[in-house]
Structures are given as C-alpha cells and as structure tokens.
C-alpha cells in the first residue's frame, strides 16, 4: 500500500500519468498496477445546479461593484427612515438582477442541455473483443474507442490503428482552431497492425504521458508495448498521435484509439477558460470619475448631516443621528450614479458594435465575410490608438505566395513564369559542366521532396470520381505554409510534379514523365528558431540524401561547398525587391552517417523530458556540411490599398511599427512598398551587424543623439524630416536584457523608447512571437501609456494581439487563431482604415458624450436637490416626486442620449476617410480629460443653480396665479423638474450634429412623453397609492402664465453659456473638425426623412433582443 502511494506521488511529481490500454495490467515484472483515478468523460460547462442557482447567481451578480452599491443603498432605505421609498431603488435593481438572472439561468439551462446531449452521445467502445455502444460520459481513461468517419472524437485519444493501411487518419480541427484543412495524424507503427476489434483488444500496452495541459499543439508521451515475455517496446508519442476532443475524423472509415484524457481534462476543455478581460481606457477614466463623484457626494452628505446634528442631544444619540442622516443623504444623492448609466453604456457598446459587423465596406467578397466583433467593450478604444503594431506576412501582404524565380548556383532558372535559361542555356552549355546538371537535378528534387505538403486528390475530397485530366488525376496541394505550396506548384510548372506520399515513399513525376520514388526516412520539421527544415530520403539507387531548405542566415553558416557568393548576391537582390527567399542545400549521407543520425533522432524523440531541446540538438548535429544548391524567391504581394492605409494611419498621427519574423532586407522592401518608409525617410539601423562593429551602448547613444538633435533643430515642424528605425530581434533582446543590469545611464530601454518615440515608422525584423508581445508591452508601459493596437493574422501574432490594448485579427490564410483571439477581426488590412478613422472616431465621440452627458444631466438633476436642503431644514426632503426621481434616468432622458450615442456623426464618413488628420482631434482621450469634465460639471452646476434659484425667486413669498391661490412644494419641484428635463434634452439637441428622423422622433418624442406622463400622473387620483401629492400639480402649474414665462426664461438662460462657448470656441480657435464644418455650413437642409418604418422596427427589435439576451 505504502509502495502504491509512493508510486502515485512519484507519478504526480514527475507530472506523468500511466494509462493501461484496455485496463489490462502490465505483466508482473514491469511495474505495479496502480488503479489511478481519473475523472469520467462528463463535460460540465454549466455553472449552476438547480439548488445552488439562486445563491450562487446572486453572489456572482453582487460581486459587481455597481450592483453591490445599489444593493447597499436599497438596504439602507429598508432599514432607516429615508426620503424616498425603497421601491425607487429596489425596483430598478430588482429588474436588472432578475433579467440578468433569467438570462444567465436560461443560458445555463441551454448549457445543461448541451452537456447532456454531449454526455449521452453514443460512443463505440471495444470490450472483450466486441464493439459495444455506450454513452460518452461513461468513457474512462484507458478505454479503446472506435470512431467512424465524420464523427467527433469524444475525448483526447491516442491513435492506435486506422482503416487506412499506413495507420494514418485525416482530421479537421475546424471547431478547435478554425482551420478547416485536413491534418494527418499517425499511429505508432507497432500498433498499426491491430485492425479489428479482436486484435485491438489483444493489444497489451501502457501509455505514459504528461498530465493534461492546455497547449493544443504539444504532447509528449511514450507507449510501452508488451509482447510475450519480451522487453517492452517503447515508442515515442507526440502531438501527431494525439486526436483531440472536438476534432472530426475525415476521409478515414474508422479508427481505433485509446482514451488518455477525459472529461474536463481534455485539451479542449482546458483551453476554453475565459480570457482575462480587457478594459477600455475610457471605462477606466469613467470609473475614476465615479469614485470621485461618490467622494464628493459623501463629503456633501457629511457637511449636511453635520449641520443637522447641531441639535443638542446626548452624544451617543447625536452620533447615531448623524450616521442615519448621513445614510439618508446618501440615499437622496445616490441618483447621481444611476443604475441606468451602466445599462446605457453597456447597451451602447453592445448595439453600437453591430455597426461594425453591418458595415458593407468591411465585407470581403472573396472571403465571404465581414468584420467580426469579439468584445464590444473596446469600441471607443479604436478612436484612441497611438501605436499600431502590424505583422507583415498576411497582414500587410497578401500571403498569397507566388513562385517568382529560382536560381541554381546563382544562375537564373526561372523568372516570373518565364522559364529562362533552362532550355537555352542548358542546351548551349550542354556538357560544359556535368556538375551543373547534377546540381540542377538535385535542386528540383530537393524542392519536390523537402516539404510537408499534402496532396488532396479531387476524387477523395468530393467523393465523386472526376475525369482524369491529361492523363493525371487533378489534385491540389495543402500545407500549413503557403510558401511550400507555392514552391511545389512552381516546380510543377517547371515539369517536376510531386504526386503523393504513399507508404513512406514520395513519388515525383519528372520532366520525362517518369515516376521517381524516394523513401522518406525522416522529416526534420520547420521551426521558427532554426528557420529551416530538412528531409532525409533514400533514392531508388539506395543513396541517402538530406535536403534542407531555409532562410539564408540559417543555411549559409552550414554550407561547406557550392557557389555561395553568387547565390548570396542573388538572394540579396531578391530580398531588396521584397521577395521571400529560401536557400536550398543538400548533404549526401553515407550509411554510417545515416545510422548515426537516426540514432540521434530516435533518442531525442523517445525522450519524455526536454524532448524539444534534445530534438533541437539532434537537428543541429545532423544539419551541417551542406552543399549549396541554389535559392528560390517567392513573392508575397502587398495587400490592396495597404500603402494607402499606412499613409492614412500616419496622417492620423499614429505610429506604425512593423513586427515581422522575416529578414531585414525583405521586410524593409515591403516597408518601402507600403510607404511606411519614404524616400525622404532617414533610416536608423539598430541591427546585429552594426552592434557587432560598435558596442550596443555606442550605437544607441549615437542614434538618440541624432534623433534629438534633429528635433531641436527643426523645432516645431517635426515632420519635415522623419526617421525610420530598423531593429532586429537579437538587438532587441540585448536591449531588453540590459534592464536587469540596472538603471542609470546604462538603461538602454529608455533610450530605445526615446528613439522609437521619435521615429515615425519602426521596423522590427527577425522577431520571435514572444518578442512581438514584449515590444508591445514595452510601449504600453512607457511613461505616456499610449493606447496600442496590434494587428496580425497568424498564430505567431496571437501573443501580441492579446498583449495590446486592442487586438485585431485578420481572417487570413494561416488559420483562424489570430481572429479567434482578437477583439475584432477584419478580412483585410485595408479595413483597418475605416475601422479606426471612421468607426473608432465615431465611437469615441459617442461614448465621450455619453459619459459626460450622463454626469451632466445627473448633476443638473441632483444639485437642485442639494440646494433645496438649505431651505428645508436639511431634512432630506426630496424636491421631486418619487415618480420623477425614478423615471428621470429611465425614461425621460434615457433614449435621446442612447440614440445619440448610436447614430451621432459629427462629420460625414467620407470626410473622415478623406481627412485622416481629423483623428488627431480626439487623440489622447481629449474629450474625456479633466478640463472637459470640469466644464461639463460647471455647466451642470450652473444649470442647476439657474433652475433652483429661478424657481426660488418666482416662489419667494408671493403668488403667481391669477386667482391668488398658492402653490406648494410639489409645484416648486415640478417647475424645476420641467425646466430640467427640457434643458438637458435641448442641450443634447444642441450637441447633435446629425439629425436623422430617429433623432427627431426620440428627442421630441421624449419631451412629449414627459408632458403626457405628467398630465396623466397628475390627472387622476391613483388607487393603491397612499399619497396623491401630485394631483393636478402639473396642470395647475401650466395654468399660470408666469410659470410658462419662467420655464422659457430658465431654459434660455441655462442653454446660453453652452451656445456661447460653442460659438466662441469655433470662431476663435477651431479644431480641425470644426474648421471643416465652416466649409460645408448648412448646405444640406432637411433631406427627405422618409425612410422605411422597418428600420425603426428593427431598432426596437434590437433593443428588445438586447434586454432578453444581455444586460
């Protein structure tokens, strides 16, 4: 027993688990059989059960600070005697909480149902040599499962054998990472033979593998196969053996596999943990303001409650009294932070983001997709971007690779589809150099063999046998790397067709229509650190060859012979043209060398720990002593309008940084092509080449001096000479590393940032994915805290997309990973322009106005209430009737601002696109800075003072009816409230620059609604209400002439300062936006407003939809 425990704990500590296939104990000698406990295959995505729903849901909801605050207010109202009834705050809170609870409950019920249907889904399990149908959730680790074509894997499985003879199966992981291409998974060669239920059941083996971890693409394990009385056979298992839950079997009749991870331990379940939420800067400043307001409110309360507690009472009583007074004031002033603000802001963000998805201009016909919004919380952040970090391949460029040229030994063989030199030259110089001919053959074979391309034959894809064209079946190539496809297709045009990989033999159709077969011995996969890949093949003549292709920098150091100089020249020339170059080399392996290599590889592959590292070491020892064959060039065309977009972003004051893994020359060429660098741009280089000559320290200081001197000379007109910085990954890591060595003058980070800040464009090449994120982080943390945006299309951009404030994914060719992890996904780079300049700009001014206006209207609302306390003995007497208090934010003033925040366009879309510099007007959160906020608050206080004292002087000890009768306090409040509602609504009308029929409808409609409501509210004696204080108050007020006159007067006076401020600002110091207004002043008057009623209905529907699905 003790021993068992030790083994278990050992297993735990090593982080491995042992799976007994078919629950068969290993032979006695091997290891003790420990029945380990794993969870069953039940997926639980639901949060609640029926009994814990109410407490848990309530707990979750009240963890939100806003909800808790309102709950506290509500409780205070319940406990102590307060001015307003608990209903006024309890009802909205109850509503919000109930709707949210219902929505979450419904979602959870759906989840329960989905869980149920998944858990009860039939699964075929092999038991005692028979296939038994059982339910998915009954699956256990170690069960052998049979999966048929087009079925989804029920848990993470290790492939044992398949109906295909080579033990492979095709899988699509569309539901996991969105990549719909078929991927091949392999069975361990030793288990391939177990083809029937009976055979599989007789398999006696254990699997050792790591404990579940969320990385989809990583798996390390080992299978031990026991054959009678022999040493167990150990075979390595990798990610290519692991079939993930959620993926679907394709093009394979059935497979047998063994469950290793089940239920909540599957990689998919581990992966779908929610991402950390990004919060927008606007929201942050909004929260800050909130705290502020609460603080002032409580100070206010304190002041007031102190003045009440002057009454002589025993000390303790006095304290209690002061405290309850304080709470009562809190209740009275809590309206300044209404529940409705949260609801409105959320609603604005949610509904507003529909405009992005609806945008026709951001729809890509080719892809058949428009923009996607994954988070609506960041809409306004799009208007605040200062730094744009973009990937190059697939983002700036099409990632539509076209084979442009190849050269063998520096001689051009083909250029842009024209086969040049090949026939002529070879004929001309036939026999001149045999070795040349040999190199040429090898070169083409290398390109045909050294890849991981799969051939998809049309017939297998569609299931229909198509005609055979020109004597060969039509087929196309699929690969994870578009470069490879381009190369293989380019070879096809040159006459060397890669046919297929069959039984580990690669078949090539050469120029003379002969089929050559090479045995594929090993594939040394591509990785971004080595930047090369190799294959080891055995030709039909029995010769062992290693072909390698990779980046020039990773090939040249390993070359021992070949025409390095010529090839290098060619490569450099191509790189300058912006082409992606690859060098091709080979190595002839003798039998002993091959055996040595095989040993290295196998050893590394079998390793359970540090497999990556050991593989890299093995690769390093094998890939050496190359003979250089030649180089290829593949063009990656710029995306359409990429240059235009970059230029617009520049004009809009954004700094564009290109982060790429590509080599410097290629990347720089792309930068020139996309107008990131102009001819006038002075390029500063911070590359390894330079730092090898000088020390990093000197280079950095020299550059920073250049930049700073230039700035001091040119003074204000900085843009007369702009700098472009090029930095490579190696130098970057050196700079970042310097940080640990201490601050002071040796702090390179700051200097680098200083240089980067003064450059209009920065190119970072040779970047590893993590370095991309590091750069973003570095900028994000710099002292101005700029808003950053990262855009990319590939899995290598995910880290930077997640790191940046706003992450944008391009729905590119390299799968959907970037789009899935992004906040917004767009089909093409050019759509970024509209996204930022138009949508971002609009959303920012909309949300800015929304937030400011909300504070303004509540200051206007509550400040008279505050002033009234001085005239009612600080008794917390509400100025307004309960219905007005409750409905002010809910219905009288809510719709106009919501609509404004959805449809306001202060300038036309076209103008925003044509004039990117308008974006600068809103840079640095300019509409939500303190001066603006103070202005709004002052305006609110001024208006409130006008309302209150206007009514005060009107009421002051006199009457204003023509029959001498007097008005009471409710008339006083109603007068203030009427002026208030009209003023705040008209203030919004003044701010509206875009009057659609909906604006008219909503603004005038809500004023009308107020009047009608007031008439109705005061029009009858309401049954079931224990007070009738408003009875006829509104009508009596309207029957008096001076009341009308003072309403008009007070509204005019309240609006006057804002109008004057607007006019003066525009006349004296107009912003770019405002200057534009002057040009097109009022060319457009009322255009026909007759737009289909259906539009309006759809809006209503949306709001309805919103309330039911999201709060």
């Amino acid at each position: 027993m003790l021993f068992h425990l030790i083994v278990v704990s050992l297993n735990r500590s090593f982080g491995t688990r042992t799976v007994y296939i078919g629950h068969k104990e290993p032979p006695p000698g091997a290891e003790a059989y420990i029945p380990q406990r794993y969870p069953d295959n039940r997926i639980v995505s639901s949060k609640y059960t029926s009994w814990n729903f109410i407490p848990k849901n309530l707990f979750e909801q009240f963890r939100r600070i806003a909800n808790f605050y309102f709950l506290a207010i509500f409780l205070v109202q319940l406990i102590i005697d307060t001015p307003t009834s608990p209903v006024t705050s309890g009802l909205p809170l109850f509503f919000v909480i109930t709707v949210t609870a219902i929505k979450q409950g419904y979602e959870d019920w759906l989840r329960h149902k989905a869980d149920c249907s998944i858990n009860e889904c039939p699964v075929d399990v092999v038991q005692q040599g028979k296939v038994v149908r059982t339910q998915s959730h009954k699956l256990r680790v170690g069960d052998i499962v049979m999966v048929r074509e087009d079925e989804t894997f029920p848990c993470d499985l290790i492939l044992l054998s398949s109906s295909r003879h080579d033990g492979t199966c095709y899988v699509t992981t569309a539901s996991l990472d969105g990549e719909s291409s078929h991927k091949t998974y392999y069975a361990v060669q030793d288990t391939v033979a177990f083809r029937t239920e009976r055979e599989v059941d007789s398999l006696h083996a254990t699997i050792e593998c790591e404990q579940p971890q969320p990385d989809l693409y990583k798996f390390v394990g080992r299978i031990n196969i026991y054959k009678d009385r022999e040493e167990p056979l150990a075979r390595p298992l990798g990610a290519e053996n692991l079939l993930l839950r959620g993926a679907t079997l394709k093009n394979t009749q059935h497979i047998y596999a063994v469950a290793v991870y089940t239920g909540m331990e599957t990689k998919m379940a581990l992966n779908y943990q929610s991402k950390s939420q990004k919060r927008s800067a606007v929201e942050n400043s909004f929260n800050l303001r909130l705290k502020d307001t609460v603080l002032t409110a409580s100070v206010k309360n304190h002041l007031l409650s102190n003045s009440t507690s002057l009454v002589c009472l025993p000390f303790l009583l006095q304290v209690i009294r002061a405290f309850t007074d304080f709470l009562a004031f809190m209740v009275l002033f809590n309206y300044i932070i209404p529940v409705s603000m949260y609801v409105t802001v959320e609603m604005q963000k949610f509904l507003g983001s529909y405009f992005i998805t609806w945008d026709e201009e951001m729809f890509d016909e080719e892809l058949g997709e428009g923009a996607l919004v994954n988070t609506s919380d960041l809409n306004e952040e799009l208007g605040q971007v200062e730094y744009v970090f973009t990937d190059k391949t697939g983002t700036l460029t099409e990632n539509n690779m076209e084979f442009i040229e190849c050269c063998v030994d520096g001689n051009l063989k083909m250029r842009r589809g024209h086969v040049c030199g090949l026939t002529n030259m070879s004929r001309f110089k036939a026999g001149l150099c045999l070795c040349r001919q040999e190199h040429e053959d090898l070169f083409f074979r290398a390109l045909c063999l050294c890849h991981t391309v799969q051939v998809k034959e049309e017939e297998t894809v569609d299931g229909i046998k198509r005609g055979i064209h020109q004597g060969r079946p039509t087929s196309f190539y699929i690969s994870s790397s578009p470069d490879e496809v381009a190369l293989v297709e380019g070879m096809k045009r040159l006459g060397y067709t890669y046919l297929r990989l069959k039984d580990n033999y690669m078949e090539i159709l050469n120029k003379d229509d002969e089929i050559e077969r090479f045995e594929l011995l090993h594939v040394l996969n591509f990785d971004s650190v080595r930047r090369r890949m190799s294959v080891i093949v055995r030709s039909s003549s029995g010769e062992c060859l290693l072909f390698c292709k990779g980046a020039d920098s990773s090939i040249f150091p390993r070359v021992v012979s070949g025409k390095v100089e010529q090839v290098k020249a060619r490569v450099e020339q191509n790189a300058v043209e912006g082409l992606r170059t690859l060098c091709v080399a080979y190595r002839r392996l003798s039998e002993s060398e091959y055996k040595e290599a095989r040993r290295h590889l196998n050893e590394a592959q079998l390793a359970l720990q540090d497999r990556e590292q050991r593989l890299a070491q093995a690769y390093d020892t094998i890939e050496k002593d190359f003979v250089l064959l030649g180089a290829t060039a593949v063009e990656d065309r710029l995306q359409e309008k990429a240059a235009d977009t970059i230029e617009s972003l520049h004009k809009a004051g954004m700094k564009v940084w290109v982060l790429t893994g590509d080599k410097m020359e290629t990347a720089a060429a792309t930068c020139y092509a996309s107008k990131l660098f102009r001819r006038s741009t002075q390029i500063l280089e911070l590359t390894k080449k330079r730092t090898e000559e000088q020390s990093l320290h000197d280079v950095l200081f020299e550059l920073s001096r250049t930049v700073l001197r230039q700035r001091s000379i040119s003074g204000l007109s900085v843009d007369c000479l702009d700098f472009g910085l090029i930095i490579d990954g190696a130098t970057l890591s050196a700079i970042l590393k310097s940080k640990q060595e201490g601050a002071g003058p040796g702090n390179y980070r700051e200097i680098f940032l200083e240089i980067g800040r003064n450059c209009s464009a920065v190119l970072c090449c040779r970047m590893a994915p993590l370095q991309k994120a590091q750069i973003v982080k570095l900028i994000k943390a710099s002292k101005e805290h700029p808003i950053t945006l990262a855009i990319g299309d590939g899995a290598n951009d995910v880290s930077m997309i997640l790191e940046a404030h706003v992450g944008i994914g391009i729905m590119g060719k390299e799968g959907r990973q970037a789009a899935r992890n992004s906040d917004y996904a767009i089909p093409k780079f050019k759509h970024l322009k509209k996204m930022l300049l138009v949508h971002g700009h609009y959303y920012y001014i909309r949300i800015a106005e929304l937030v400011q206006y909300f504070f303004y209207k509540n200051v206007c609302f509550i400040f008279p209430q505050f002033l009234y306390q001085f005239f009612c003995g600080f008794s917390q007497q509400p100025l307004y009737d309960t219905a007005y208090l409750t409905l002010y934010n809910i219905s009288f003033t809510s719709l106009p601002i919501l609509l404004y925040s959805l449809v306001e366009q202060h300038i036309t879309t076209e103008r925003l696109k044509r004039d990117p510099s308008l974006y600068k007007d809103i840079a640095k959160n300019s509409l939500l800075r303190w001066p603006v906020f103070i202005y709004w608050t002052c305006l609110g206080v001024f208006d409130a003072v006008v309302f209150f004292f206007g009514a005060y002087f009107l009421f002051d000890n006199t009457t204003f009816t023509s029959n001498g009768q007097m008005f009471g306090n409710w008339t006083f409040g109603t007068l203030v409230f009427t002026v208030l509602v009209f003023t705040v609504t008209l203030k919004l009308a003044l701010d509206t620059h875009h009057w659609t029929w909906i604006n008219h409808f909503v603004i005038w409609g809500s004023l009308l609604f107020y009047v009608i409501f007031s008439l109705l509210w005061g029009g009858i004696i309401w049954p079931f209400l224990n007070y009738q204080r408003m009875y006829y108050v509104f009508m009596q007020m309207l029957s008096s002439g001076p009341a009308w006159l003072s309403i008009i007067l007070l509204i005019t006076v309240s609006l006057l300062p804002d109008v004057i401020k607007k006019v003066l600002c525009r006349a004296v110091c107009p912003t770019a936006t405002e200057r534009f207004w002057r040009i097109t002043v009022l060319l457009k008057l009322f255009v026909s407003q007759a737009v289909g009623f259906a539009e309006f209905l759809s809006l209503i529907f949306l709001i309805y939809h919103y309330f039911f699905l999201k709060i």
Binding site: T357, N374, S875, M966, L1045, V1063, V1091
Partner: protein
C-alpha cells in the same frame, strides 16, 4: 449531429463572447445595404456658428426686453401691504398674547393692530397670512398625512396610515385628520375693520371660498360618507388633532365648507415650498364699480391669537394684495427678462464683431488651404 451540438455549446459555453460575435452562423452572408445599417440615414446637419446664432441672439433680445418691461410694469402696479403681528416687540399690540400663550387656555387672547393704507385698493383684494421660519417642507412633516383619509375613505378614517405617526391615535382613538400637518393647522382668526373718517368702524366682509384649488376641494378632499352626511355622526369615534380647539366637523357652519373640505384646512394641507411662505386666507370681493374695495384710510386688524410661533422664532404676518394676470407682486420675472434680453442683445453685438473679424481671417485661411 455530434459536431453541431458541440459547436452550439462552444458558442454559449466556455468562450465568453461579449459582442455580437456569437452570430457567426448568420453572418456568412453579406450585410444588408440599408441606410440605417450602413450609417447613411439622411440627416440634417446643423452647425452652431456665429453666423447662425447671431439672428437668434437678436431675436431673443428683442423679444425678451419688451416682455420683461411688461412684466415689470405689471408687477409694480400691484399694491401690496404687509403687517407683522407676531408680537415679538414689547411695543407691539400682540405682545401680551404672544407672551401669555398657553395650550390649555379656554379664553382666546385677542389683540388689535391698527394700520393705515396709503392707497386705495381698486380691484379684488386678497388677504394672506404669512409665516416665517416655519419649515412646512420638512421631510417628516410633509409626509405626515393620510391622503386617503382626507379623500373620505372610511377605512382610513378609522385606521390612519402609519405615516401619520405620532399623530395617528390619541387615547386609542384615531385622529381625524391625522398627521403633523393637520395638527399644526394655522388657527388665528383675522378680521379687518375699516375705520371710517367719521368714527365708525366697519367690518370688512371676507370671502371664505375660492381660496383653495378647485380640484383639491372637489376631488382630492372629501368628507367621509358623502356630501350630505351628518358629519358629527360620521366622525364619531375619532378624536380631534391634539392642538385643535374644535373637531374637524365644526370648522365652519356652512356644510359645504366643513370637515375635510374646509378651504382653510385644504390651503393649509398644501405644504409650502419654502420656510417663509404665505397662504391665502380670505378674498375681499369688489362690491361695486364706484367705490374701491379698500379705500385709503385707517384700518384695524383684529387677531384672535391662537397660533404660537415664538417657540421656533417664527413670524406671523397679514398681507393684503391685489392680483394681476401674473399673480402677486414679484419684480423678479420682469427684471430677469430684461436682463437676459439685454445680455443676449449685447452678446449678439459682440458675436457680430467676432464673426466679422474671425470670419474674414478664417475665410482667408481657408482659401490659402
């Protein structure tokens, strides 16, 4: 089947899709090209510039100044006379009454205050009583009433609402009308006498109707048991408010002005907005075209001094006022209108200058652009 159910779970399961991204299935199509969805609704785009605002300023100025003058003149034509009869001073006639006040005294204290009207009051004259430093708008005071009882609800008559506490029950009998407001009802009696130059003192007829809102008297307030019921019978089993001298059904001999629909009572129940307030007490109707309602001369105000205000340093006043279409004397509105009108006019001029100067400068700048 399995795959589809799996996808469905993905959407609302672990991935937190906060935006409309959930509808990925729907969006395989091109978005609709409607003006609303493409944010291209036809719109009117007004812009506030000096040019557009200028006329508005001048119009406001030109409109407001005459209105203001009109209001100011009207307000000035209104005659108002106010006399404080609190009796705070030793010299004042009511000093004794105010000093000797006791809740229990059965014999009311009476004092007479003489005054002199310098101008004759031509039209209807409205008599107000005014109180100062009386917080009728205190929260606990304002809510201390039972509207349903006042409306004539028999059930509420027997069981006054909790809001009336501590003025809901007295000696286990429900108080009618309950609450602090009713309890503190103003109960001084004011009478006016005109001292004819020939020595006789003429009592001026004070009209008691028309001082409360019509809707209050006829709808909001009502006696329990209907209009013609015997009030003393209906109020059987209730007790009068503590501070009252008479029960509610003895407020007036006129049946239609008695009980809850007594106009003095209704006027009092409409709580004032500010601590210094006045309430309509009586109306002196104009008797004939020839004689002014109140001619110039000496008058005597006879006060039955019941209402103590000294304890909270309050003041009591009697006000005589004529009324125009805009109510009593209040120069505020007129002055405000004149001021705002002039400011607007002045701003109009300033803006005109700015517009002229900056407009030229900006136009120049635009051309150079």
């Amino acid at each position: 089947m399995m795959a589809s159910s799996y996808n469905a779970k993905d959407e609302d399961g672990h991935i937190t899709v906060t935006g409309p991204g959930g509808g990925a299935v729907l969006r395989s199509k091109k978005p609709e090209n409607t003006a609303f969805k493409q944010q291209r609704l036809p719109a009117w785009q007004p812009i506030l510039t000096a040019g557009t605002v200028l006329p508005a300023f001048f119009i406001i100025g030109l409109l407001f100044i005459p209105i203001g003058i009109g209001l100011f003149v009207t307000s000035n034509n209104i005659k108002e006379f106010e006399i404080d009869y609190t009796g705070a001073d030793t010299s004042s006639p009511c000093f004794n009454c105010s000093q000797n006040f006791s809740w229990n005294s059965t014999s009311p204290c009476t004092c007479t205050v003489p005054f002199y009207l310098e101008q004759p009051y031509e039209s209807n004259v409205y008599v107000y009583y005014g109180l100062s430093n009386f917080y009728q708008n205190h929260r606990r005071y304002v809510k201390s009433r039972d509207d349903s009882q006042l409306n004539g609800n028999l059930k509420s008559l027997r069981e006054p609402s909790k809001e009336c506490e501590p003025y809901a029950y007295h000696n286990n009998k429900p108080i009618a009308p309950c609450g602090a407001i009713a309890n503190s009802m103003f109960n001084d009696t004011l009478e006016l006498f005109y001292n004819d130059p020939n020595g006789t003192s003429v009592k001026i007829l004070l009209g008691t109707t028309g001082i409360a809102w019509w809707t209050d008297k006829h709808v909001k307030f009502g006696n329990p048991g209907g209009v013609d019921s015997n009030l003393s019978a209906v109020f059987q089993g209730t007790t009068k408010p503590l501070n009252w001298r008479r029960p509610v059904y003895e407020l007036d001999s006129d049946q239609s002005n008695n009980g809850f629909v007594n106009e003095d009572f209704i006027v009092w129940m409409r709580t004032a907005a500010l601590p210094t307030f006045r309430k309509l007490y009586r109306i002196i109707g104009k008797s004939s075209q020839m004689v002014p309602t109140l001619p110039r001369g000496n008058y005597t105000l006879e006060v039955v001094y019941n209402y103590p205000v000294r304890s909270f340093e309050g003041r009591k006043r009697m006000i005589l006022s004529t009324i125009s279409w805009m109510g009593g004397k209040n120069p505020f509105l007129g002055i405000a209108y004149i001021t705002v009108g002039s400011v607007c006019f002045f701003l109009g001029v300033v803006l005109l200058v700015i517009h002229h100067k900056c407009g030229n400068r900006n136009n120049g700048a635009e051309i150079s652009n």
